[in-house]
Amino acid sequence: MDSVGNIIVYFVVAIVMVVFSFKAVTTGKILRAATYLLFVLLGTAVFYFQLGYQFLGAVQIAVYAGGIMVLFVFAILLTHRPDDSSGRIGSHRRQIGLTLSGVSAVLLLLALFYMPVLNGVSLAESLQAGNEITMHEIGEVFTGSGRFQYLLPFEAISVLLLACIIGGVTVARKN
């Protein structure tokens, strides 16, 4: 049995996420689409907090809602004039888009509702079943090389980010 507060938070965040996902792909203005995406990302961060992953929620807010959104707004203002008429983004191929997204949504929802395992445990039970994740454990997972530890991917990610910095500068630089 979950607490009433959790259920209320869930409904508020779920409705916000659904509404703003729709608006982010249907609005005509590019800067508004970016703002709606920001709300969706923040809603996801609230879900992470609610599911007991505090570190991940903080990362989501810092990297996605902070870093990536700044990049988006920066790029939008570099490539669009902020006055009314030129910031519009048209859409085409509506039929194909509606068909593809509708088919995938219906298939996924059917699959979800026919899976008995999905209704087994409640949030409160599963939060009790797992112990709270401390920063100590997260540090050990990222710096160990044993089973279920991820030192090699962690190093690979750092090389990837370095390559990304160099590539970004090389691509965007003027001759």
């Binding site: 049995m1 979950d2 959790n6 259920i7 996420m17 659904v18 996902s21 729709f22 982010a24 792909v25 689409a33 970016a34 995406l37 969706v40 809603g43 996801t44 879900f47 599911l51 991940l56 990362v59 989501q60 996605y64 990536i68 990049l71 790029a75 570099l78 490539t79 983004i89 859409s91 085409h92 191929r93 888009g97 997204s101 995938s104 949504a105 996924l108 929802l109 979800l112 999905l118 209704n119 087994g120 445990v121 409640s122 949030l123 409160a124 599963s126 079943a129 797992g130 994740i133 454990e137 997972v141 279920f148 991820y150 991917p153 990837l160 990304c164 910095i165 590539g167 691509v171 965007a172």
Partner: protein
């Protein structure tokens, strides 16, 4: 009333469907990138939900989501560098007008 796994997966499905719709129908490169972020975000949420409800003792889903967030940040930075470069070359970011390469 219990908050089961299904409750968290339904918003994720909606996000994925919206992302697919935007990815197909948008004409602007940055708007396409925004739809892509929606789809990535829905995949991240799935990782976390499956980890919490099916394997509450381990934290591999969380680690995968952290890596996915890092890769998404790198991918967005490169994509935006490309978009700015395209804007410099042809003056806008509309995909219906990007139909010529250099030669």
């Amino acid at each position: 009333m219990d908050l089961s796994m299904l409750w968290y997966l339904v918003p994720s499905v909606v996000m994925l469907a919206c992302g697919i719709y935007g990815f197909v129908t948008r004409k602007n490169l940055i708007a396409i990138l925004i739809s892509l972020e929606l789809m990535l975000n829905s995949a991240d949420l799935n990782f976390i939900v499956f980890n919490r409800f099916l394997f509450p003792g381990s934290m591999d889903g969380m680690v995968f989501t952290l890596f996915a967030i890092a890769i998404a940040a790198a991918e967005t930075a490169i994509a935006i560098a490309l978009i700015i470069n395209i804007y410099r070359a042809i003056g806008n970011t509309d995909i219906t007008e990007i139909n010529k390469m250099k030669f």
